[in-house]
């Protein structure tokens, strides 16, 4: 009896989330799977078409496949963000006066509303009068080189977005920093006794100890990249020449511009499966490079 009461109590406490889970997660997942096999234009009821949406998407060389490729290209950003973010966190981990100010400065861009970031960077990236090209043209002038047109140039539009995102890398810096400060000091002392210098301490103590956080950030980064939307929606709407037509943007266009809900749901499910595969790959390889304390002993 008491056992049953205790169970009931537990379920009662989590019930707000549980109801939300059924309404806003489980039902929609199943519904979008069903819609993905339908021709569904919102105004008329869904009509079953089997695999037609998937076939149409996977053979679409004009929009779908480029959007997938563009998004995969953006994954380059993850290792870059990892290296830059970690380096900055290591720098911020020094106990020297004024370090708090630097931490705040690096964090600021990541709390700026994305819409405002987009507007600001439209101006920074302006090929003729923008800040970035003003700096670049002075640097490149001695070599007789011209700075690129960034968002106006299909070759440079994606790197432009990557650069803008790296400006907001501070969010992960703070996570890395928090984990750095959790590495037990006695490990460093032991390494020092063994004669390790700063480089070896970083390589053999710091990195293994914070590898779970790196791992977590990588997974969230993959998911984040596939959801990349607001920036391109505001800054380029997918252009020039569809070079910034990213996956989430094309999905949005399908759903809310062309009202092809079924096709959009098929895209959502392909995305779902792709993120699952990517997560699994990171998980599988993680056994080799992620160290969990207390796992073996």
């Amino acid at each position: 009896m008491r056992e049953r009461q205790r169970n009931l109590q537990g379920w009662l406490f989590v019930s707000p989330w549980l109801v939300g889970f059924f309404l806003f997660t489980l039902y929609p997942i199943l519904a979008s799977l069903y819609y993905s096999f339908c021709d569904y234009r919102v105004l008329t009821p869904p009509r079953w078409v089997g695999l037609a949406n998937y076939v149409a998407l996977l053979t679409d060389r004009d929009y779908f496949l480029p959007s997938l490729w563009n998004t995969l290209f953006m994954l380059i950003e993850l290792p870059l963000a990892l290296i830059i973010g970690l380096t900055m966190a290591l720098l911020l981990n020094h106990k020297i006066p004024g370090i708090g100010i630097f931490r705040t400065v690096y964090y600021l861009p990541s709390i700026m509303p994305v819409v405002a970031v987009a507007v600001l960077w439209l101006w920074v990236l302006n090929p003729q009068y923008g800040l970035l090209n003003a700096v670049l043209s002075t640097l490149l002038a001695p070599f007789g080189l011209q700075p690129p047109g960034w968002l106006a140039d299909p070759k440079w539009s994606k790197p432009a977005f990557i650069m803008m995102d790296l400006w907001a890398v501070g969010g992960s810096v703070v996570i890395y920093l928090a984990s750095l400060q959790n590495v037990p000091a006695h490990l460093y002392e032991a390494a020092e006794i063994d004669g390790a210098g700063a480089w070896h301490k970083t390589l053999h103590v710091t990195l293994p100890m914070i590898s779970p956080v790196i791992f977590y950030n990588l997974i969230m980064g993959v998911i984040w990249t596939f959801q990349y939307f607001t920036q391109t929606f505001i800054m380029t709407q997918g252009g020039p020449q569809n070079s910034t037509l990213f996956y989430a943007l094309y999905l949005f266009y399908n759903a809310f511009r062309d009202f092809r809900m079924g096709r959009a749901c098929a895209m959502a499910w392909i995305l779902f499966i792709l993120t699952l595969i990517a997560t699994l790959i990171v998980f599988r390889t993680s056994a080799r490079w992620v160290y969990y304390e207390g796992e073996r002993g």
Binding site: R6, Q9, G10, W11, L12, F13, V14, S15, P16, W17, L18, V19, G20, F21, T25, Y27, P28, I29, A31, S32, Y35, L91, H94, I96, F102, T104, V105, Y106, L108, I111, M112, P113, V114, V115, A116, A118, V119, L120, W123, V124, Q128, Y129, L131, W167, V174, I175, A178, P212, Q227, T230, I234, A255, M261, A264, C265, A268, L271, F272, T275, T279
Partner: protein
């Protein structure tokens, strides 16, 4: 003999000296890199504020003028007029307030259930909840839209403010991590005195968790303030727009008036910066709580 000690002492002093110097050089290098990075991180902000104060004819110059001359405060007044800022601010604050209240209330209860009660099915449900954090929003977004459309909620704030009242997986996770750190003896003592779980939650756990609850409130606030895609999809009447969507329509209409655009961007960013400066510690605590045990 004396000479030998002197030489030894010297070498020791040299070695000490060099260690001090090496440390000083290292610290200087660290500072130089930190400052160089800071400049590149702050430059876009400086550009934003500086452009927002320029007259139209001083925007497009050969070299960038960092100090606007003349300074034109008028830009802010114009930006705020051509874009109903106060109305959008009110709308945004209204949505933010409801999202914050909903998220905090309905995340604290499940977090208590997951952290401090033992019951059948708890661990399985917790794993499912963690998995939903990794679920791409696009998978659920479209059927949810269809659902809200069917019951006639599109064009209202309801799709934005009702779902938070069913808890947020991330907030539940953060609060659970915090609740786990509160000693179990407190609850046990209260149970022996005949306290119900509800009272333990309300009178012991909640008062002890104010910092964590504040962190959750803060994250919910920032999430709602910066949210773009949901207001974009659900709000149809321009008078109901939030700042984020309002700013986007403003961009469409003033695409080359950079001084006005930058003024608008500054105004939309500023409130968040102010909030951030006063709540930095909560941020760091929240990140430490969730980021570490990934």
């Amino acid at each position: 003999m004396a000479a030998r000690t002197a030489a030894g002492g010297n070498r020791l002093a040299d070695w000490r000296q060099s260690k001090v110097w090496r440390r000083r050089i290292a610290v200087t290098v660290v500072y130089i890199v930190l400052i160089a990075l800071s400049i590149s991180f702050l430059a876009p902000f400086a550009l934003m504020v500086s452009t927002s104060l320029k007259t139209e004819d001083r925007i497009f110059t050969e070299t960038i003028e960092w100090i606007p001359n003349p300074v034109r405060w008028q830009n802010y007044a114009e930006a705020l007029q051509s874009f109903p800022f106060l109305l959008y601010l009110r709308n945004t604050l209204f949505v933010c307030a409801l999202v914050v209240v909903g998220t905090v209330l309905s995340s604290a209860l499940p977090a208590y259930g997951f952290a401090r009660l033992r019951w059948k099915g708890r661990d399985v449900l917790f794993l499912i909840m963690l998995a939903t954090i990794m679920l791409p929003a696009q998978v659920t977004m479209l059927p949810v839209f269809v659902m809200f459309r069917t019951i006639g909620w599109t064009g209202t704030y309801l799709p934005l403010v009702v779902p938070p009242f069913f808890g947020s997986a991330f907030a539940i996770f953060l609060l659970r991590q915090f609740f786990l750190t509160i000693p179990q003896e407190l609850s046990d003592a209260a149970r022996i005195d005949g306290c119900s779980e509800w009272r333990i939650f309300w009178q012991i756990i909640v008062p002890l968790s104010v910092p964590a609850l504040a962190t959750v409130a803060l994250f919910a606030f920032i999430g709602a303030w910066t949210d773009f895609i949901n207001p974009l999809v659900y709000l149809t009447d321009e008078n109901t727009y939030t700042l984020a969507v309002g700013l986007q329509t403003f961009v469409g209409r003033h695409s080359s008036e950079w001084n006005l655009l930058m003024a608008a961007a500054t105004v939309v960013t500023l409130p968040l910066m102010v909030v951030f400066f006063f709540t930095q510690r909560l941020f760091i605590e929240g990140i430490t709580l969730t980021g570490i045990k990934g």
